[in-house]
Amino acid sequence: MSQSEPLLRVENLKTQFFTEEGTVRAVDGVSFEVGEGELVGLVGESGAGKSVAAQSIMRLVEEPGRIVDGTVTYKGRTLVDIERGPDGDLRESEAMLSRREMRTDIRGTEIAIIFQDPMESLNPVFTVGGQVREFIELNRDVSGAEAEEIAIDMLREVGIPEPVKRYDEYPHQFSGGMRQRVLIAMALACEPSLIIADEPTTALDVTVEGQILDLVDDLQEKYDTAFVWVTHDMGVVAEICDSVNVMYLGEVIEQADVDDLFHDTKHPYTRALLRSIPRPDRTVESLDPIGGVMPEAINPPSGCRFHTRCPDAREVCREVHPTHAPPEEGADAAGAGNDGARPADAARAAEADGRQPHLVSCVKYESVGYEHSESLEAEATGAFAGGLAEMRGGERDE
């Protein structure tokens, strides 16, 4: 743990959806931290629970979803704190901010959010400027006229040409990229300390995505705002994040500094994700999508949740639920990241620097007998269906 109190601390967060089909454990015990001005990635496939986790922080999860456990603290204030009552029932602790406080003190003022889809995130019947101004007025102590001024400045700042004129235009008169800029302007204009960006570039085409990422990078530096960046795109992570949390089926399975993650990848899932990024130095044929489809979060697989798709899965993976911890020395027999450093030491070192310690959930790095366990025939090994490539195609390129 870092010595100074982080800006945001999420501990053992659990969010579940109570549907007719059963309880969906969308977020199942997630912990991570965000420091001041830090840009933290939350990455995973669709359905991994990363968006829910992000929204749980702001308590934006809607029926039938509910935060059932965990604590979220922000600047020392308790956004979420679920405790078990005497009868074992879940209840919100007294320390937790009231809904009203959440609304007036946190949302917008302290933490802002940018949603995935710029086309849907702006209200089509109000002018763009009006919407930006409304949020500024609400979250900063300024008059209407001042708010308008701030809004126009901020629109200019995010690179919208002729902001005065466009201020009075409606969202449908903006392109997708422009709208995303508006949303970013909106978030920054409220001057929060933390912005949660929930796949903000997923819906944009690649060039626009690039521009937006550059913009965020610049602005982040300028305003020193911390970000939680939710994405499924390792490329984006590589480009902007300081540290990364990789999620799979409601759990964080690996967390590390961005460099560690890319260069000292521990978890087979992370490795698979990385292998599926198209890179200029590889041909398309060599792209290696993850086989199979992520199982349902209603009935997650036993043991390691990834075992059904893991190329390295062995019998033990089905039985033992891995702990989320620094990889153990010597346990990493088959691991790829043998750069000589001892992972546990590295983790301690990172912690000492105030950097993210490298944590991973995989039995390979535990002394539970992985080496001697029988290999499992993963269902989808080699299957080309599903997986990340298709997802990328679907989400990015059309």
Binding site: M58, L60, E62, E63, M102, R103, T104, I106, R107, G108, T109, A112, I113, F115, Q116, D117, E120, S121, L122, N123, P124, V125, F126, E134, F135, L138, N139, Y170, H172, Q173, L183, M186, C190
Partner: protein
């Protein structure tokens, strides 16, 4: 494209529809069995008499010529002479139209004023008891024949309790002297209100229910929209979200539906006017049909078509007013 241009375009688009309405009614009436002349003169008019009548009403010319003439006259606001009432059709319509419009207006007002809050509360309290109640009410509302509601209301409020009148409408702007027992405008308004209450409930329930259903589902949809979440994420209060961020958008399907409901509401008005013996357009057209009053049927239908078209244009325009995307897209 400007609003004015858009308006003009919508109005121009309505012209062929009105022509169509006139044509359909005119030729359907033409297909009616029975000869209007014999209706006027009895079964064995003298040949000369019949010929005179034919000439007088232009019945001796080919049908398309008559139709064209009819259209030309219609443009000059001459819809012919009612055989039954022996007065110009336009005069009869001018007499009856305000009554029906009053009934329609009051039903729609009632429907909107109840449906919008009900739908919003229902959506907001989704799957809570309030929602269930309002959904059941709406379901029953769209499933009940309006005239039966009218009959039941009459049985209860006019016959059993004897608290409200079962017939007629009084126009709120009627001269004070013409209303029984009224000494002032206030009395007239009170009387008008009392007479309007049951017919409004009878005709308005269906509209109310249909609107509640659409309001609920569109509100639900809007409340699930990203921009509503965004507002929430920026600390906007739930009330403001409902009132400002969701409300306007949620009314869009409602506005569309309002225009379309007009045609079923007019049909409902025919029944309601019959049940409550209200002298409006609905009873006028039934009387006209039963008496094979050719000109009156065509004229009344045309006016109904006109009311509908105007209603649709008004809703389209208000849609365009509420939703800035419309005019823009039209311009492309």
């Amino acid at each position: 494209m400007g609003r004015a241009q858009y308006t003009i375009r919508r109005i121009l688009q309505a012209v062929p529809v009105l022509l169509g309405v006139a044509a359909i009614t005119y030729f359907l009436m033409e297909a009616m069995p029975g000869d209007p002349v014999s209706i006027m003169l009895g079964p064995s008019p003298s040949a000369a008499q019949a010929e005179a009548i034919r000439a007088k009403y232009g019945l001796n010319r080919p049908v398309w010529v008559r139709f064209l003439n009819y259209l030309i006259d219609a443009v000059r606001l001459d819809l012919g002479q009612s055989i039954y009432y022996k007065v110009p059709v336009t005069r009869k319509i001018a007499e009856r139209l305000p009554v029906t419009l009053l009934l329609l207006a009051s039903s729609f007002t009632f429907a909107i004023l109840t449906a919008v809050p009900l739908g919003i509360i229902s959506a907001k309290r989704r799957n809570k008891p309030t929602d269930h109640v309002s959904r059941v009410v709406a379901l029953l509302g769209v499933s009940t024949p309006s005239f039966w509601i009218g009959l039941m209301l009459i049985i209860v409020f006019a016959y059993r309790l004897d608290v409200l009148p079962a017939t007629n409408l009084i126009l709120p702007w009627a001269p004070v002297g013409s209303v029984d027992g009224a000494d002032s405008r206030v009395d007239v308004l009170a009387a008008a209100g009392r007479h309007l209450l049951l017919p409004t409930l009878s005709l308005g329930t269906l509209q109310m229910a249909a609107l509640t259903r659409i309001e609920r589902s569109s509100m639900l949809e809007v409340l699930g929209q990203e921009y509503v979440k965004l507002a929430r994420a920026y600390g906007v209060s739930e009330f403001t979200i409902l009132r400002k961020h969701a409300f306007r958008n949620a009314q869009l399907p409602l506005i569309t539906l309002l225009g379309l409901q007009l045609t079923s509401a007019i049909g409902g008005a025919v029944l309601t006017e019959t049940v409550f013996s209200i002298n409006g357009m609905g009873r006028l057209i039934i009387t006209a049909i039963n008496n094979q009053d050719f000109a009156l049927v065509t004229g009344t239908t045309l006016v109904f078509g006109f009311v509908f078209v105007v209603g649709v244009i008004v809703t389209d325009l208000s849609y365009a007013y509420v939703d800035p995307r419309v005019t823009f897209e039209e311009a492309e």
